[in-house]
């Protein structure tokens, strides 16, 4: 698949949150305010692209030659955890303002299913190094898009009257459901029309 195809697929057609349900915990948890949603989104893009590249390298260069592919779950989760720690340390050193913006979200990302998800999906789809990297960025962009749209809707919703039992999480889920309904317009046929 072409790189543009991968980007369109992961941002719109297979949007991680709205069609694959990966990364829902931060999506519901951090989408109250637009500022924090943007911070979380960029942190996820950063970690996902790094993680898909790193896990690709470990899978192709270590696990496959040694014939120990069955260790992928364990090794991937450890790579992601180590990577998040590393990213955190590097950001503290290089750019304290960036750390201030992203810092609190980084530990949350370790147990974000979206990051392990993109690593596993990359392996299952037999992507090469650059394709995995692009898929990681695209899936992160899809996450950013969904969480930012969601947070703007939720900021509006805070000022509206919502029936008591629906306040907070339930209305957030129903909003997400309606967004997912809208995203159903993006399907494989659209990709075909766009790329021929």
């Amino acid at each position: 698949m072409s790189y543009i195809g991968i980007i369109i697929t992961f941002v719109f057609i297979n949007n991680f949150i709205l069609t694959q349900f990966l990364g829902l915990c931060p999506f519901i948890g951090v989408s109250r305010k637009t500022d924090s949603a943007v911070g979380m989104g960029f942190a996820v893009i950063f970690v996902m692209s790094m993680a898909s590249l790193a896990t690709w390298a470990v899978y192709r260069l270590i696990l496959v030659p040694l014939n120990i592919e069955y260790l992928q779950t364990i090794s991937f989760i450890l790579i992601i955890a180590a990577l998040v720690q590393l990213v955190e340390m590097v950001i503290i050193k290089i750019s304290p303002p960036l750390y201030k913006a992203l810092g609190i979200y980084l530990p949350l990302i370790t147990t974000n299913c979206a990051v392990l998800g993109i690593a596993l999906i990359g392996v299952r789809s037999n992507y090469n190094a650059l394709e995995s990297f692009v898929a990681g960025i695209a899936a992160g962009l899809g996450f950013l898009l969904a969480i930012v749209v969601m947070s703007t809707i939720r900021e509006r919703l805070d000022r509206e009257w919502v029936p008591k039992p629906f306040r907070g999480v339930p209305i957030a889920f129903i909003t997400a459901g309606l967004m997912a309904l809208a995203f159903m317009a993006f399907d494989k046929a659209l990709l075909k029309n766009l790329l021929g």
Partner: protein, 223 residues
């Protein structure tokens, strides 16, 4: 002691009350059989990791406990993944990447960190069973709603001449298909969560009302 078991099913149900482990819940709840398979996998991983964490808690240094827990959990997830691929290939295929994603299911790390790393083996075992069963029941409820209304069927395991699919007359021909698709999952869990909130609120207001009303009869009796 028995309370450790039942709290996971009702009072602290991982899906509806503390909202943990949502990603797999929504993704695999398209068919009842998927919910059963996923539930079994999660119960096994929860049991295995809570037992191991509880046994090893005195040997794991405080600073590296989270990575250590993750390795324990990932080992059990790998076992589930391989066993499922070997003995239930069709189930493994329809659950897809979500079997391996059990490793990042917040329920498991959450219970290991919050419960098993502090308690004795027996309590951890009951906690794991309760949480696992609570998770499975929640998953079953969501998948039953989605499959019955969204496809008009209930898919179970195929046994003998029975193909494993129960068709509900009237619904099979005209299902509300949107519920079986991605948006349906989010809508169903939103409405269910609201229902549970409403039940909780009703219970609280009843208790408040009962507390207020309690002295009334004695007063009435006096006059």
């Amino acid at each position: 002691m028995f309370n450790e078991f039942t709290k996971g099913i009702f009072k602290e149900n991982p899906i509806f009350i503390i909202l943990l482990g949502l990603c797999p819940t929504l993704a695999v709840s398209t068919q009842v059989v998927n919910a059963l398979g996923m539930g079994a996998g999660v119960i096994f991983v929860l049991l295995g990791s809570e037992i191991f964490v509880s046994l090893l808690k005195d040997f794991i240094p405080e600073r590296i406990r989270i990575p250590a827990f993750i390795v324990i959990i990932a080992s059990f997830v790998t076992i589930v993944d391989l066993v499922m691929q070997a003995y239930a290939p069709s189930l493994s295929k329809s659950l897809g990447v979500f079997v391996q994603l059990i490793v990042v299911n917040c329920i498991i790390l959450g219970r290991a960190e919050a419960f098993a790393s502090k308690r004795k083996l027996g309590e951890s075992l009951l906690d794991a069973l309760g949480m696992g069963v609570g998770f499975t029941l929640g998953l079953l409820l969501i998948s039953a709603i989605r499959e019955i209304l969204g496809a008009g069927t209930i898919t179970l395991f195929a046994v003998g001449s029975f193909d494993g699919v129960i068709r509900i007359p009237g619904l099979v021909s005209q299902p509300a298909r949107v519920l079986a698709l991605a948006p349906g999952a989010l809508l169903v869990i939103g409405f269910l969560k609201a229902l549970f909130n409403w039940l909780e609120m009703r219970k609280q207001s009843r208790e408040a009302w009962a507390a207020e009303a309690a002295p009334a009869p004695s007063e009435g009796g006096a006059s």
